[in-house]
């Protein structure tokens, strides 16, 4: 009988991971003994990309470190929905200080661990795009610059969601938010604004920078585990759609994350010490419209007379990403 190799693209489900995939390739989440560090019972919205990303990321880190992770959380959705008074869904040591200081608090925890010789205990700082890229930017840069032994994970849902969907420096061009409202004609977030934090992280030449997506959860786990095998400042930027803020169906969260990657709008790559070491080359590309039309925050671009010019400019951003990050297969 002729043997045919079967590729499993969806490796992160319990069923596939457990029985049909080699041990080393199995998702952490597929393991019965996963730590469930972010336990069920938290108050995230139905379809929350951040909750999914955080669960995978932290459990992967726990596996990589033998269950020795301390988490420092910025103020934001994750912090709020994971610790609804009087409960906490964290099964690991966890601290929330302020909005803008997660990176600095994490640096402090790392320093304490160092001075006390607790070498096996590791620190992860986590925050949303607002807490990381805007108000937390100074502290983040400081942590990078000092090369403190912290993995910083940014869950990027592209706006200040917890406070009601206000624009951040991660909000993409043309997107509607409460502070970049869309109306007829050219509106939504202004083109030519915003920052690319993964590139900024690379400019600090820290040991490891990666982008990841909940569209490929196993890839996310692998990147986190690799990051935990290194010491020094590390940064992972995860694309996490927000049904509420993006105006999308909760059931579409993972699909949207995949479309963001496959359109080129969210490049997946890794870098070490300031140089790109790997990228996910698109197996198949989609035009940005496939992605945009599923989200109400871009609804003003569609309708009877679609704003082809603006959609074209968004496509140009995607095309540029594909070119500059070498994503074309």
């Amino acid at each position: 009988m002729k043997l045919q190799p079967v590729k499993f693209y969806q490796k992160q489900t319990f069923t596939v991971g457990n029985r049909l995939v080699a041990g080393h390739a199995r998702a952490v989440q597929a393991n019965m003994r996963r730590t469930n560090s972010l336990n069920s019972g938290h108050r995230a919205c139905q379809g929350c990309g951040e909750a999914l990303g955080a669960r995978y990321a932290i459990d992967a880190a726990m596996q990589a470190t033998g269950n020795r992770v301390i988490a420092v959380n910025a103020t934001g959705c994750l912090e709020v929905f994971s610790t609804p008074y009087p409960e906490t869904s964290w099964q690991i040591p966890w601290i929330h200080s302020l909005f803008g200081n997660a990176a600095a608090v994490a640096s402090g925890v790392a320093a304490a661990l160092r001075v006390k010789g607790r070498k096996g205990d590791r620190v992860i700082a986590q925050g949303g795009d607002g807490g990381t890229m805007d108000i937390g930017f100074g502290c983040l840069s400081g942590m990078f610059e000092r090369n403190d032994d912290v993995l910083y994970i940014c869950y990027d849902n592209e706006a200040y969601m917890n406070t009601g969907v206000q624009r951040s420096s991660a909000t993409p061009a043309a997107a509607h938010t409460a502070t970049t409202p869309a109306a007829r004609g050219r509106s939504g977030n202004v083109f030519g604004t915003g920052k690319n934090l993964p590139l900024i992280a690379m400019a600090h030449e820290i040991p490891y920078v990666a982008t990841a997506s909940i569209a490929n959860l196993r890839d996310l786990e692998v990147k986190v585990m690799y990051a935990m095998s290194l010491r020094g400042a590390r940064y992972i930027h995860i694309s996490v759609p927000c049904p509420l803020g993006w105006g999308s169906l909760p059931a579409d969260t993972i699909k949207l994350a995949r479309l963001a990657v496959e359109s080129g709008l969210f490049p997946l790559f890794e870098a070490e010490n300031g140089e790109i070491t790997g990228r996910y080359q698109l197996r198949h590309r989609v035009p940005v419209t496939e992605y945009l039309k599923l989200q109400k925050r871009y609804a003003h671009l569609f309708g009877d007379t679609p704003d082809l010019r603006t959609i074209g400019e968004i496509q140009a951003i995607a095309d540029r990403n594909i070119r500059r990050f070498g994503l074309a297969a």
């Binding site: 906490t88 966890w94 601290i95």
Partner: protein, 418 residues
């Protein structure tokens, strides 16, 4: 051991003896020599088992201390003026989380206008954040208070700020008795945290607290400070037993026994005040002084007991509640409520203006005659003030106030020959 040393250097040595495990520093005048001293000692190995971290802002400095303290390390930082304001959010956060961080405030005026010289507006600006606040009268006391501060902070799980007048104390080169390591170790045991980030025993620290419980959490902070009213004198007494000198405590009275007029103040100005008290006593005036060492918690009962038999109280303040008057005065008044004494507020030394014996004596003598205003601005140049007011009335675009005044002052003094 007796040393002739710069105040900042003495502080660095004292803090080093307290075995801090994480020291973070962002430079701001006039605290720089303290943290530089600590950095040198870490580098030379004199201060072992300590991580010295150069941070990117004061907000980062206290945040790093928060993380380190939550992970079980004895943590320390220092700042002043603009710096304590830049970290204001973290100041409240540290107190709310109950982390026993010790921080030196090298008291300096707050801008605008930018000013690097001493007054106490900075620590006063954060007086209600929940930190214990201790004020040092001399560099010796500054050294001693830091040792007491670590002990106090860890006993209560409450952060403590030690306020040391910038330049006047930090940059004064004087004789200080630096304790021995054995003495400090006898007084200050290793840090045993009440809460700690521990992989073997996980807890969540800093979760949201709703209307159902916030009030109780906040009240318990207040309760801690009320406990401190007892603990501070206890620790000061124990300090005296171990180190052989009196230092700290809630308040200190000087020649108040039969005093008709008592001057109340905080910090280094008490030195000058005591000189004036001695001179006036020698001339027959029944005057005394009270130094407040613990400003938070505010020692209402102790102050009342110390002041109740006087006829009048003069509160000398190096800070100003703009639009109202004295900051310390309000609390002193509260301590004296119901008592028939006259109270006067004298605002002095703002932005580093020297407070002289001569000016103090003049104002105290006026107090004796009850010829003093309720609120006096010591040595304020009314001429300059009036000139600026007139300028403002003269035209709409009268220009920046500070620049106008400096120009006036420039005209008044002779030009320097090059």
């Amino acid at each position: 051991m007796l040393k002739q040393v710069e105040g900042s250097r003495a502080l660095a040595e004292a803090i080093a003896l307290c075995r801090p495990e994480v020291v973070c520093a962002y430079p701001i005048t006039p605290q720089t020599h303290i943290v530089e001293g600590l950095g040198e000692m870490v580098r030379s190995g004199e201060l072992a088992g300590c991580e010295f971290i150069n941070v990117e802002s004061e907000f980062a400095a206290l945040s790093v201390a928060i993380g380190a303290s939550a992970a079980g390390a004895r943590s320390y930082t220092a700042t002043a003026s603009q710096g304590i304001l830049f970290m204001a959010e973290a100041v409240y956060n540290a107190a709310g989380l109950g982390l026993p961080i010790v921080m030196t405030i090298a008291n300096r005026a707050i801008g605008a206008p930018i000013n690097i010289w001493n007054d106490q507006s900075d620590s006063m600006a954060l007086r209600d954040a929940g930190w214990i606040q201790l004020y040092a009268e001399t560099n010796q006391e500054a050294v001693d208070l830091h040792i007491q501060a670590f002990r106090l902070a860890e006993a209560l799980s409450c952060p403590v700020m030690v306020c040391v007048d910038g330049f006047i104390l930090t940059h004064a080169y004087e004789r200080v008795d630096i304790p021995t390591r054995a003495q400090v170790d006898a007084y200050l045991p290793p840090f045993e945290p009440v809460q700690v980030l521990d992989c073997d025993d996980p807890v969540s620290i800093g979760a949201m607290v709703g209307p159902e419980a916030f009030f109780e959490v906040r009240y318990l902070q207040h309760h801690k400070q009320l406990r401190a009213l007892e603990l501070i004198p206890d620790l000061a007494r124990e300090f005296e037993r171990v180190f052989g000198r009196k230092s700290g405590g809630l308040i200190r009275s000087y020649r108040c026994e039969d005093a008709e007029t008592i001057v109340v103040s905080l910090g280094s100005v008490l030195g000058t005040v005591k000189e004036v008290v001695d001179d006036m006593r020698a001339a027959g005036a029944d005057i005394g002084a009270v130094s407040i060492c613990s400003f938070r918690p505010f020692p209402l009962a102790e102050l009342r007991a110390a002041l109740k038999d006087a006829k009048r109280v003069v509160v000398l303040e190096k800070c100003l509640a703009v639009g109202v008057g004295g900051i310390v005065s309000s609390s002193v008044r509260k301590a004296l409520s119901g008592l028939p004494l006259a109270g006067y507020t004298v605002i002095a030394g703002l932005g580093g203006r020297p407070i002289t014996q001569r000016s103090l004596q003049e104002v105290f003598e006026r107090a004796f005659r009850d010829e003093l205003e309720q609120l006096t601005f010591l040595d304020l140049n009314w001429d300059i003030v009036n000139r600026e007011l007139a300028r403002g009335r003269g035209q709409r675009r009268s220009g920046p106030t500070a620049e106008n005044i400096l120009r006036d002052l420039g005209r008044a003094t002779p030009v320097e020959a090059t």
